[in-house]
């Protein structure tokens, strides 16, 4: 199994190095405009935070998979895990802010030893939409996870899972050998207990990330194709497909550079820039919390170690007033969320 960039001691495990790459070269010599200049053209600079609606909590970078495009650089060798103390601080903030969406991500969030405790406590608060981003294979990885679908059901968790394609070859190439078959088994299990079925309140959505150096196609067309293929081939159903653009950071940046696709990909992102998408980018209504409790505008900024532009930096000192209307921290990776129909953890935004 592939090792994380961190384990391999790759220079791209260093967020400063990633930011240097993203700011130099074609963005330094003026071939392409920097993101700040681009959004200035439509008077959208500085990008401002709006009302907080989504709290996205990264409970750890440990994962049972090592996907080639992973912006977290997650894997079995990553040991960063959120403690119960930090989880409790997150719960206190959820109660205080009345956030309508709680979004747990990782790594594989289920691998955090306090994951179930956290879900149980969070579900008592009663947020409107309680999301767990499950990679599917974790459900089949070990007997101790076999009951996860029932556990999700018990707490009315909204499951969002990655599925790069409806064919084995494309899926396994991106996510690892055998991932497709295990994902199909997990989806069948989720369907069996009601997840993803038409009119079911047990929400099951899939995330599509392109399996290479190209942008996602039209989300609704992709959804139709996915639904048709998964139903015909495996009798699997789900609710929505979210098409998410791969951002040029971490392992995907490593892949782009190694395959000599970096410049073309950045051109694609900039040429597909859509100013309408800027108004709805997720960082404006989301707060991302890292495993160690620090605050970021989004999960991508978390991985680039770009903390929020506020006096408040940590969940333990949370202060909504000081975070409201803050300037969002941006760099050239942000083009990934404004290309075409835009991209967010909930799919297209424009």
């Amino acid at each position: 199994m592939l090792k994380s960039l961190k384990k391999r001691e790759s220079e791209l495990a260093n967020s400063k190095r990633q930011l240097e790459i993203l700011s130099n070269g074609i963005f330094q010599n003026g071939e392409l405009p920097k993101f700040a200049n681009k959004i200035s053209e439509s008077n959208q600079f500085p990008l401002k935070a709006k009302k907080l609606e989504i709290l996205q909590i990264n409970v750890g970078y440990m994962c049972n998979q090592v996907c080639s495009h992973c912006h977290v650089d997650a894997g079995p060798d990553r040991k960063e895990i959120m403690t119960r103390v930090t989880m409790q601080q997150c719960l206190d903030v959820i109660k205080k802010t009345g956030t309508h969406t709680l979004d747990l991500t990782g790594g594989a969030p289920e691998m955090n030893p306090d994951f179930r405790w956290f879900v149980e406590e969070a579900s008592k608060i009663g947020v409107k939409d309680f999301i767990v981003r499950s990679n599917l294979t974790i459900i089949r990885a070990n007997k101790k996870y076999y009951d996860l679908p029932e556990f999700f059901k018990k707490h009315n968790v909204h499951v969002i899972s990655s599925m790069p394609h409806w064919t084995r070859g494309k899926t396994d190439k991106q996510r690892g050998e055998g991932v497709f078959d295990q994902s199909i088994k997990a989806l069948l299990e989720l369907n069996r207990i009601g997840y993803g079925m038409p009119n079911s309140e047990l929400k099951l959505d899939l995330v599509y990330n392109p399996s290479g150096a190209f942008l996602p196609g039209d989300q609704s067309s992709m959804e139709k194709d996915f639904k048709k293929a998964l139903l015909e081939d495996f009798d699997i159903q789900f609710h929505n497909l979210f098409a998410i653009t791969n951002l040029p950071i971490s392992r995907f940046l490593d892949y782009l550079i190694a395959s000599d696709n970096y410049e073309d990909y950045m051109y694609s992102l900039v040429e597909s820039y859509n100013s309408t998408a800027v108004a709805n980018v997720m960082c404006t209504n989301t707060l991302s919390i890292s495993w160690d409790g620090f605050l970021y505008d989004c999960d991508f900024n978390q991985m680039l170690n770009l903390p929020v532009n506020s006096k408040v930096k940590h969940i333990s000192e949370y202060n909504q007033e000081l975070l409201d209307n803050r300037n969002i921290v941006i760099s050239q990776h942000c083009y990934g969320c404004t290309a075409g129909a835009g991209s967010s953890c909930q799919g297209s935004v424009a």
């Binding site: 494309k170 392109p210 399996s211 190209f214 196609g217 039209d218 067309s221 992709m222």
Partner: protein, 111 residues
């Protein structure tokens, strides 16, 4: 001047053709964009036709563009290859059907 006839970077400059003939260039791009909208045929079906024709007319810019477009639409490599074969079959058929002319001529001239 470039030392090669084709430069991948030129594809990005395609829109520049309007600089020397704005009216015709604009009309072409309007027509081009309209053609690839959803219609009686889906945009996906049109993308596969475009990929096939790109090979038949042997346009490296078009092959790059419509291969990437196909990937973005989730079109599989098997579908792409079948589309290319469809074009190739017509192209080779167009050559071979002229063999009838050859046969006719032989039959007329040869005793």
């Amino acid at each position: 001047m470039s030392k090669t006839y084709y430069d991948p970077a030129d594809l990005r400059k395609f829109g520049n053709i309007t600089e020397w003939s704005e009216e015709l260039g604009k009309k072409f791009f309007e027509y081009y964009n309209s053609v690839f909208q959803e219609g009686a045929l889906s945009a996906r079906e049109k993308a596969l036709i475009a990929l096939s024709v790109s090979h038949v007319v042997k346009c490296p810019y078009c092959i790059d563009a419509y291969t990437k477009d196909g990937l973005q639409r989730g079109i599989t490599k098997e579908e792409m290859m079948e589309a290319v074969h469809a074009g190739a079959a017509i192209e080779s058929g167009a050559t071979l059907v002229h063999a009838v002319q050859m046969m006719n001529k032989v039959n007329k001239l040869d005793v």
